[in-house]
């Protein structure tokens, strides 16, 4: 088994990407896009600005110079450079950054693609449109639907920008030319080229809607824990990871044992089905690919305005010394929800404050689960404070997304499933829409929206990068209003993201949401899974309990290939009973061992190897074909004479070291024959077939053989 990490994770929106070689098959684990890199581009200019921008190069535009910025930004890396300003951003049709080095792998040699979350498939159309791509794509049905909606949304948002810039440039856009790149401020250059300058090749112009459609047609959708079999060898199953609706962890079972692939997982989710770790038990190898705690440790220092950071320190560790599985389980079950709920309540209270002050709230949060919960939370808070403020969802796929969340109880958490069983809608948004509190529109220019529009209001709208989609327009509208509020996820570099909207009077709240397994839960989890081999990111520190680990750990880091020795060089074989009945057992001289030749047809079916009788014609008798040991000549003589063969023994002279010295039996009755016996070989010479075979059998009886 070989494992190559192509990209370690970058939070919820940019899951890690790996390549796994197993049983001769190459498996690509996820194919995400780094959408946070979009921040190096300029957003769509607002309507008023757009008209003023006639010149292709906005560098000469009038609002330049660092003086515009209210406060000098504290930057660590950028020591001498002047602070960034909005005009440093690349003013061009954005390209999209895929996983670095993925393009170095030959696409046609990928056999299987496993998609663990909707976010993990955003880069897939780039791959699936390549000629020669023939891999089987497995994705859960819920992730497929959500992923498709996200991609369609991306394409439609991009279209808006595209219309501004006109038809596509012939080959490489101006900004990608070296001269231009050199002029970029270092922080932007880092994003564009990567820290070591090796990521230029991962930029791509966005795929088309047709590419998305084509990609989705190639994907095979799986139900929850559905067993699927690749090439009769690998049995692949998806179990919920809890991160998002449809997000999953994988088990891959081959003839050489099982692998559990753990992506970012959440033990207690408030919307998606919880991390099903019990189902991952019994796999020899565990690939741990949850990098979320890496991001969590770099705590969020956010915030332009006078807001308290929202990070709560819940680091008080629970007692986990005891390794008892039961205790481990209880540790895992400690509710993450409580903390997440507090965050939501916190956000909600600020939303209410803003609305009360007459400001509007923009929530360009990309996490579906957070949006659904915030909707419920905020609407409840509004009711409590008796406020009549409309909530809008403005997204090209919003309506479908909401409708979809209400028809997949199979991928939701227990509490939501209970709603199904009691006949209530799965999420609060169904009633909000019915009651006229929530309005869903495909775009800001929807006529109905214009008629319905009312401020202050609360708007959920993509895109979280603040470069695409309706969010840009709302931000441009409200960025000067000090009563308005912007809620961001922590995965964004706020400085860079808000650059084009400066000066910002708007309040900004950046919040980190749980997006994976907390580091202190890793060890208890492993105690339950009990793998023999663990693949663990080098960057993460495994908190070791007192007990020495019962498994070997391989640490991996990006762009290095790990070779993991196979745990067993033997695989299971099932032998049909009717075949087993015909066995002709032989006991060896040394005792304890008996053996038989077996012959049949090997079938590989559903990851199992089965030997069945097949239509091999039975040979009349089974002869020994392999012998070992050395024959006892005197015994041979007795056996021969027992079969009516007479001859004389001519022993080789003793003491001669040479192997070639042969003893011989000269047979003269019933006819002439010669048996030449050496240390490691015997040669039978006879004129008749019959005699030769009798002699052969006699030799067989004094040797071990099969």
């Amino acid at each position: 088994m070989k494992f190559t990490c192509l990209r370690k994770g970058g939070g919820y929106h940019f899951p890690p990407c790996h390549i796994l070689d197993i049983c001769g098959f190459r498996i690509l684990l996820d194919c995400p896009l780094d959408l946070s890199a979009l921040t190096i581009f300029s957003p769509i200019p607002s309507a008023s600005k757009a008209s003023s921008v006639d010149k292709p190069n906005p560098k000469c535009s009038n609002r330049s110079g660092p003086l515009d910025l209210e406060e000098p930004l504290v930057r660590k890396r950028q020591k001498v450079e002047r602070p960034l300003d909005a005009d440093d951003l690349i003013y061009a049709e954005p390209w999209y950054k895929t996983v670095r080095n993925l393009h170095l792998w030959n696409t046609s040699f990928i056999d299987v693609v496993l998609i663990s979350s909707p976010m993990g498939m955003l880069g897939l159309p780039f791959l699936s449109r390549i000629k020669g791509f023939s891999a089987k794509i497995y994705v859960t049905e819920a992730a497929a639907r959500l992923g498709q909606l996200m991609m369609e949304d991306l394409v439609s948002m991009h279209m808006e920008i595209r219309q501004l810039f006109g038809p596509e440039e012939s080959c490489i856009p101006q900004w990608m030319k070296w001269e231009e790149l050199k002029l970029l401020p270092s922080s932007l250059r880092d994003v564009a080229l990567g820290k070591d300058g090796g990521e230029m090749g991962s930029w791509m112009p966005l795929y088309s809607a047709a590419d998305v459609k084509d990609c989705m047609q190639k994907a095979q959708r799986l139900k929850y824990a559905e067993e699927t079999c690749y090439n009769s060898t690998l049995i692949i199953k998806a179990f919920s990871s809890g991160l998002e609706i449809g997000a999953c962890n994988w088990t891959i079972n081959g003839p050489k044992g099982g692998i559990a692939f753990i992506s970012s997982s959440i033990f207690g989710s408030a919307h998606a089905m919880n991390f099903d770790y019990i189902a991952l038990q019994g796999n020899d190898t565990v690939i741990y690919s949850d990098f979320s705690s890496l991001d969590a440790t770099e705590d969020i220092e956010n915030d332009h305005s006078n807001f308290v950071p929202t990070t709560h320190d819940f680091s008080s560790l629970r007692n986990e010394e005891n390794d008892e599985q039961e205790l481990a389980k209880s540790v895992l079950h400690v509710d993450d929800n409580l903390e997440e709920n507090q965050k939501l309540a916190f956000l909600s209270s600020h939303v209410i404050d803003s609305v009360k002050a007459g400001g509007s709230v923009l929530i360009p949060v990309g996490r579906l689960g957070i949006v659904l919960q915030l909707l419920e939370q905020i609407s409840t808070s509004l009711d409590v404070s008796d406020l009549k403020v409309p909530i809008y969802i403005i997204s090209s796929v919003g309506e479908e997304l909401l409708a979809f969340t209400n028809i997949i109880p199979e991928w939701l958490c227990k509490q939501r499933q209970e709603k199904l069983f009691s006949g209530q809608p799965l999420f609060g948004h169904v009633e909000l829409i019915n009651e006229g509190k929530l309005h869903v529109f495909p775009a800001i220019h929807s006529p109905k929206l214009l008629m319905n529009w009312q401020e202050p209001c609360i708007v959920f709208s993509p895109h979280w990068s603040l470069r695409l989609g309706p969010a840009v327009h709302f931000l441009q509208r409200w960025c000067g209003d000090q009563n308005s509020l912007l809620i961001l996820e922590n995965e964004l570099d706020v400085e860079l993201a808000l650059l084009p909207f400066k000066p910002m009077a708007m309040k900004v709240l950046q919040c980190s949401f749980l997006s994976g397994i907390r580091l202190q839960k890793v060890q208890p989890l492993l105690n339950i899974l009990q793998p023999k081999v663990l693949l663990f990111p080098k960057d993460l520190k495994l908190i070791n309990s007192s007990k020495s680990t019962a498994f070997s750990i391989f640490q991996y880091c990006p762009d290095e290939t790990l070779c993991i020795p196979s745990l067993k060089d033997k695989s299971e074989l099932e032998i049909a009973t009717d075949l087993a009945f015909h066995f002709d057992w032989r006991n060896l001289k040394q005792g304890n061992i008996s053996m038989t030749r077996l012959k049949g047809e090997l079938f590989r079916e559903h990851g199992k190897q089965r030997l069945i009788p097949g239509y091999v014609q039975e040979s009349s008798e089974i002869r020994q074909l392999v012998h070992w040991g050395s024959p006892d000549l005197d015994r041979l003589m007795t056996v021969l004479s027992g079969r009516g063969i007479k001859g004389t023994l001519r022993k080789a002279s003793r003491g001669s070291e040479s192997e070639n010295v042969a003893s011989a039996v000269l047979v003269n009755d019933p006819s002439q024959a010669l048996i030449e016996v050496k240390e490691t070989s015997t040669v039978i010479t006879a004129t008749s077939e019959n005699l030769a075979s009798i002699i052969f059998e006699s030799i067989g009886s004094v040797l071990d053989g099969i």
Partner: protein, 641 residues
């Protein structure tokens, strides 16, 4: 090893489906239904036959769908009899079953005034024990037992269940439909290797035609009735048929621009529609695709019906529960509407013997005696809707043929028809088939594999291509281009991969399968090669003479080569299936090697030849291994000629 199936219900009858299957020590109860036609102890399966302690003897219960003849006895079994183990059913079944059970309980207790078998709390408690499953979700019930649901189409959430313990596997179909209907898709299952299939056989001998004609007939009947100011009563269960017909009517109403109200009795069916909306992904492809724009279960023309509206004037269409007019509200409405000839009663689907629905369908009664005191004049029209969400005989045969199990057990059907179907399955498909009566046990053998570990070399050798080239003499003659008119042999290539290896059993160790070449390494022994050799004399006088006249003065070695060539040609002629390799000084066929021996004292030359020959014989020195014994002697006999 065997699979034992104890049929507790639906054996040679329809109603109270319940089969206890024992596979490799695991006991599964498939369905736990009640019989609608009986009111005494016969309404429930005879649970006493399971054994004294349900919790110890049963591994789990699997419910295929929410119909009462499949789930009706479940609350009784769990809450009254005390079963507390796991129960599996699909999400929709878990969501909808309580509605059905509650509806039934109400009818029994509140309307018929019977002693209740279980309470509302019992239903709630019972449903708490249910573990919902998704389609195709592979559920590991315990270490050995694996179950999986497949789409059955019969009603929303109906599933066929696959169960596997060790190497033995079986499928219990429950009720299923092989053709899609208005709101559900057709049954779908993987090709599995199975020891046993237990299938329903409601329509064991019926072959049904297209549904569209019958749908048109139904719509026409309804339309005619409402156009004439009549009322249409459709007694149906809250779930399933009601939604299907409603989709049909809704569509028709839109097209014909009808304004006649469609009613659903009480809240039940309306609430059911709420469930249907959330469970839309379990419906047919067509309905599923439209969920985001218009949920097909948002019925625009459907209104709620109040009891006071029974005698209100004007036409209407009413869906009333329960189906089969077995009591409750549908009976109440029937009492009011039956005496008017303007009205129409449409009976959708199967009616159990003993119900009014059954009486209406089996003839045209003018009077029905409800009980001693009540007699209803039936003057209304009766329309029988013959489409049913059960598969027909062709569907059953198709499914059995597709799955090709080793054995089939028929349940949920009528005795004589089942016998016919059983005969067909045995004669047409060659599959052993049984149709046990209630409380009978059928035992069928199950598959079992012995396991061993196989070495890589063995597995690799198995997948090595094993090409056999054989030339079959063909009639094709080459054209006249060349003088030698060789027939072109047609080359046939076969690749029968054969797995050959050695199974080694050592005490206290797992059986191992290794390749022949690995064996000695494993045993740490030295190989002792046993070979054959024979330097065989050949009487080739004539040949040699010809040879010499043609090529005088050639060196001896060259002559030897020629001889080999000659032999090679001869062998090719005689042994068409072997591959002869010519190495110049020797020929090789498999392990058989032959060369011209010029040594006078070849050790493998036996002076057995009587000295009768006058020519100096040529000697072909041959050696071979045991595998090619037959071949070797064949060649030798040819050499000697």
């Amino acid at each position: 090893m065997a699979i034992d199936s104890l049929v507790l219900g639906a054996g040679q009858e329809v109603g109270k489906s319940c089969v206890i299957v024992t596979i490799n020590g695991k006991r599964i109860m498939f369905d736990c239904g009640m019989h609608m036609g009986h009111l005494d102890h016969r309404r429930y399966p005879d649970f006493s036959l399971i054994g004294p302690n349900f919790n110890q003897t049963l591994t789990c219960i699997i419910i295929t769908h929410f119909h009462l003849d499949h789930i009706g006895a479940l609350p009784y079994f769990t809450e009254v009899c005390g079963y507390s183990g796991p129960i599996y059913m699909t999400y929709p079944t878990k969501a909808l079953a309580p509605l059905m059970l509650e509806d039934y309980r109400k009818v029994m207790v509140e309307r018929r005034g019977e002693e209740e078998q279980f309470t509302s709390e019992h239903i709630v408690e019972c449903m708490k024990k249910v573990i919902p499953v998704d389609l195709k979700q592979t559920v590991q019930v315990d270490k050995d037992l694996q179950i999986r649901a497949y789409y059955a189409g019969h009603v929303l959430g109906a599933a066929m269940f696959y169960a596997k313990v060790g190497d033995a596997a079986m499928v219990y179909t429950g009720d299923y439909n092989m053709t899609p209907d208005r709101h559900l898709g057709a049954a779908q299952i993987d090709r599995l290797s199975l020891d046993l299939v237990i299938t329903e056989s409601t329509y064991a001998t019926t072959i049904r035609d297209s549904k569209y004609a019958r749908e048109r007939e139904f719509l026409r009947a309804v339309h005619t009735c409402v156009a004439g100011g009549g009322k249409v009563l459709i007694p149906s269960f809250a779930l399933g048929r009601a939604q299907e017909l409603c989709i049909l009517l809704e569509d028709y109403w839109e097209r014909m621009n009808l304004k006649v109200p469609i009613y659903f009795s009480a809240g039940l069916t309306r609430q059911a529609n709420m469930y249907y909306k959330m469970l839309i992904s379990w419906t047919s492809q067509k309905i599923k695709e439209t969920y985001s724009t218009h949920n097909a279960f948002d019925f625009k023309n459907v209104h709620k019906f109040e009891r006071s509206m029974i005698d209100a004037p004007g036409p209407c269409v009413l869906f009333a529960t329960p189906g089969m007019i077995s009591g409750g509200f549908s009976l109440e409405v029937f009492k009011h509407w039956a005496p008017s000839e303007k009205n129409l009663v449409t009976m959708p689907g199967y009616c159990v013997a003993g119900t009014i629905g059954h009486k209406l369908m089996s003839g045209k009664p003018t009077k029905i005696d409800l009980d001693k005191d009540t007699r209803i004049d039936v003057r209304c029209q009766i329309h029988q809707l013959t489409f049913s969400p059960h598969t027909d005989a062709k569907g059953i045969m198709d499914l059995v043929k597709f799955l090709s199990p080793k054995h089939v057990i028929l349940v949920h059907g009528e005795k004589p028809r089942m016998a016919t179907l059983k005969g067909r399955i045995q004669s047409e498909l060659g599959i052993q088939c049984y149709d046990p009566a209630n409380n009978e046990t059928v035992s069928v053998p199950s598959t079992h594999y012995a396991t061993a570990v196989a070495s890589d070399a063995f597995v690799q050798s198995c997948s090595n291509p094993n090409f056999k080239f054989s030339t079959s003499g063909s009639e094709h003659e080459q054209g006249s281009s060349s003088s030698n008119r060789k027939s072109i042999p047609r080359l046939q290539v076969s690749d029968d991969r054969v797995a050959e290896g050695i199974l080694v059993m050592e005490k206290n160790k797992k059986a191992k399968v290794v390749h022949q070449d690995e064996l000695l390494v494993m045993l740490e022994e030295k190989k002792h090669q046993v070979k054959f050799a024979y330097c065989c004399p050949a009487h080739i006088g004539n040949l040699q003479e010809n040879q010499e006249t043609e090529s005088t003065g050639l060196p001896l070695s060259s002559t030897n080569n020629d001889m080999l060539q000659l032999l090679s040609a001869k062998l090719t002629n005689e042994l068409s299936e072997v591959n002869i390799q010519d190495f110049g000084d020797h020929l090789q066929v498999e392990s058989f090697r032959v060369s011209i021996c010029s040594k006078e004292d070849c050790p493998y030359r036996l002076s057995d030849n009587g000295g009768e020959e006058h020519y100096e014989p040529m000697f072909f020195c041959c050696s071979w291994a045991m595998e090619d014994e037959k071949l070797a002697w064949k060649v030798i006999s040819m050499c000697q000629k």
